[in-house]
């Protein structure tokens, strides 16, 4: 009897080895996220000591430092959740469209959500953030369907270039409609610009509670569609041959991704590039298997947004730079790098 039959088959051993390797990366990512969260409650405009951090976290806000820490806790939680939602939704969008450049902001989806929110504030008198969520998700969904439909027309289906162009053009159109709505209404403009810039500052538990149901449903559906996305990655024909309902998988995962990014956009404003960068970084760490990639994108996305928020608080003291600006400045070079690596066909 040969050794291969008695011992573990090499393929299984390799799989287990890879699983160990991936788990290690995921644990490391979780550790980094925990450190980022700690930094996020400890660092800010008000300088506090460690005893204040401990006191603030245990719910005692007797001293000024501890009160500042207690104020930073919901903000940190919101950054973790929004970042996770954006990272996950970016990973799913890239899987659904089989497109390395898919990102809620590049595809113009956040602009669609902006337009919906502005129209809601201006024409329907929306004032409560709860109503923003529904309107933003509706706007995001409509834009996503539109951009994907337009980008996949013609020869070659939804190529990265056609999708990106359709997204950028749609974004340009909706932002010019936004200014048409805003210009005669100074009050709406004042309300809107703070939402538009993309930030997690001033977060309270009510804002978090409001996005939580959407986030929960979206995350569960996205994670559940990992296997389907793995099949889609092989191409539509092979996926169908493997017994996958291609259109259904795409629809369910796409809707869940749109719900996630719509909820994140409604709570924190349009934040660009997180959904683009995070899945690419995670693919380098845990590989292309969506069962690993999706949870990793959630974790890393949350960590990235939290860190970006900390950076934004530190760089311009005593002013704060909103997290949307920080991610855009980090994200654009990454985008350029991805574009330069990807082989793009001539137009």
């Amino acid at each position: 009897m040969s050794a291969t039959v008695l011992g573990t088959p090499p393929a299984a051993a390799a799989t287990r080895h890879r699983a160990a390797y991936r788990s290690a990366w995921l644990l490391l990512a979780l550790l980094v996220v925990a450190l980022a969260a700690l930094a996020s409650v400890a660092v800010g405009v008000a300088v506090v000591g460690w005893d204040d951090v401990v006191r603030g976290l245990s719910g005692d806000d007797a001293t000024l430092g501890a009160a500042a820490v207690a104020k930073r806790v919901p903000r940190t939680v919101l950054a973790l959740l929004v970042g996770g939602a954006l990272g996950l939704s970016g990973a799913v969008m890239q899987g659904v469209t089989r497109n390395p450049l898919a990102d809620p902001a590049i595809l113009g989806i956040t602009n669609g959500a902006s337009l919906a929110v502005v129209s809601g504030i201006a024409f329907f008198g929306l004032a409560s953030p709860t109503s923003y969520v529904w309107v933003a998700i509706g706007g995001a969904a409509a834009t996503a369907v539109f951009v994907y439909a337009v980008g996949s027309m013609g020869r070659g289906g939804a190529t990265p270039l056609k999708l990106a162009l359709a997204g950028a053009a749609t974004a340009a159109a909706s932002s010019s409609l936004v200014s048409a709505v805003l210009l005669p209404r100074l009050d709406v403009m004042t309300q809107f610009r703070f939402w538009q810039v993309g930030g997690v500052g001033g977060a309270g538990w009510d804002r978090i509670g409001m996005m939580l149901p959407f986030l929960g449903v979206g995350t569960v559906v996205c994670l559940a569609s990992a296997r389907g996305l793995n099949s889609l990655a092989l191409g539509d024909d092979v996926a169908a041959g493997l017994g996958e309902h291609v259109a259904r998988t795409r629809l369910v995962a796409g809707v869940a991704a749109v719900v996630l990014c719509g909820a994140a956009t409604a709570t924190a404003g349009p934040i660009a590039f997180v959904g683009l960068m995070v899945p690419h970084a995670c693919r380098l760490l845990v590989g292309v298997d969506h069962r690993w990639l999706l949870p990793a994108s959630f974790v890393v996305g949350g960590g990235l947004l939290t860190l970006a928020d900390v950076v934004g608080r530190v760089v311009a003291r005593p002013e704060e730079v909103e997290v949307g600006i920080v991610t855009a400045l980090i994200g654009a070079p990454v985008f350029v790098w991805i574009v330069r690596r990807t082989r793009v066909r001539a137009l």
């Binding site: 590049i106 027309m153 162009l165 950028a168 200014s179 810039v197 855009a328 793009v344």
Partner: protein, 343 residues
């Protein structure tokens, strides 16, 4: 001469004649719209008054209203329209896609971000804003060009990198708007949506000078630009120095776009609309620079009048062209993808 050759020659002559007629009609329309916008307003002045004012004679009342208010405004509309139209069609032809207009690929965004920064953060106004916007737009365009360079520039990579830059610059714009005080905000937003309210000779004359210098350079490249539209390899085989032509076209088009943006703000979608409309009018395969410029001028002139008088609220011209542009964009997206991206 064979029958085919004769057919081709006849067809070519017929298309050339058609093009000349349409360009002539467009030019006449621009002049007519310009003249009409001098006459129409809160008070109406007859053609004879307007002609007298334009010739420099003093007419009581009309001298101020027409000469100092309407004449610079209408002239600025024509100049910015010409500049946007030429700049837009240059990029669309060069990158072989009607969607790849400077509005979409970050060139206009660079100029707007810099202009807003100059207005809100640096507290500048007038010519200084223009200077900052022009310098920044050229810098952004060159940066996009350099980043897209990898054994030469592929049009599609340039477009993608431009879109990425535009997304980043939008974040900068949002940040600047948050920094603005309530008082600055309205002014900044008005400039940002593109309007001609600040029109005066101090804006018109510098723009005119720049256009007189730059536009002929771009027009001289027109023939080569049309060959670039056939694709880099074909153009190179036909003897076009591809990279040099492309760089020259980019720089001249960006200077035109940026100067116009600095004077009137980013008037939405004029650069995007002018080329495809002109292509529709003069037919495929003919040089588009001149007709597109004329269409651009017409769009800005008419859009400004519509924004001024058609609604109970006065809207800047950019809002009108933006609202016009959005549905047309949808139509164009659908059509161009179906036909494979022809202008």
């Amino acid at each position: 001469m064979s029958a085919t050759a004769i057919t081709v020659a006849v067809g070519r002559r017929r298309r050339a004649r058609r093009r000349t007629v349409i360009v002539g009609v467009l030019a006449a329309l621009v002049v007519a719209a310009w003249f009409a916008s001098l006459m129409v307003g809160h008070t109406f002045y007859g053609p004879s008054d307007v002609v007298q004012v334009v010739r420099g004679e003093t007419v009581p009342g009309a001298s101020f209203t027409v000469g100092d208010l309407r004449l610079p405004r209408a002239s600025l509309a024509v100049l910015t329209g010409l500049a946007f139209g030429m700049g837009g069609v240059t990029f669309q032809t060069m990158l072989r896609n009607p969607l790849a207009s400077p509005d979409v690929i970050g060139i206009s965004t660079g100029a707007s971000a810099a202009g807003l920064f100059a207005i809100v953060i640096l507290g500048l106004s007038g010519l200084a804003v223009s200077a900052v916007a022009v310098v920044a737009a050229i810098a952004v365009a060159l940066l996009i060009y350099v980043l897209a360079w990898k054994d030469g520039v592929v049009g599609s990579r340039l477009v993608l990198i431009g879109i990425g830059m535009a997304a980043m610059l939008h974040a900068v714009i949002s940040w600047v708007l948050v920094q603005a005080s309530e008082w600055d905000l309205q002014a900044a937003m008005r400039w940002f949506s593109g309007n001609l309210n600040n029109a005066g000779w101090d804006l018109v004359v510098p723009l005119l000078v720049v256009m007189a210098v730059v536009a002929p350079v771009l027009l001289a490249q027109g023939g080569r630009l049309d060959l670039l539209h056939l694709g880099d390899d074909t153009a190179a085989a036909l003897g076009v120095p591809v990279e040099r032509t492309r760089l020259l076209c980019i720089v001249t088009a960006v200077v035109l776009m940026a100067c116009a943006t600095a004077a009137a703000g980013p008037v939405a979608f004029v650069a995007f609309l002018a080329g495809p409309i002109a292509a529709r009018l003069v037919g495929p395969g003919t040089p588009l620079l001149v007709p597109a410029a004329l269409v651009g001028a017409l769009l800005v002139l008419v859009g400004d009048q519509v924004g001024q008088w058609a609604f109970d609220n006065r809207y800047p011209v950019g809002v009108v062209t933006g609202a016009l542009g959005a549905p047309y964009l949808v139509y164009l997206l659908i059509r161009s993808h179906r036909t494979g991206g022809a202008l």
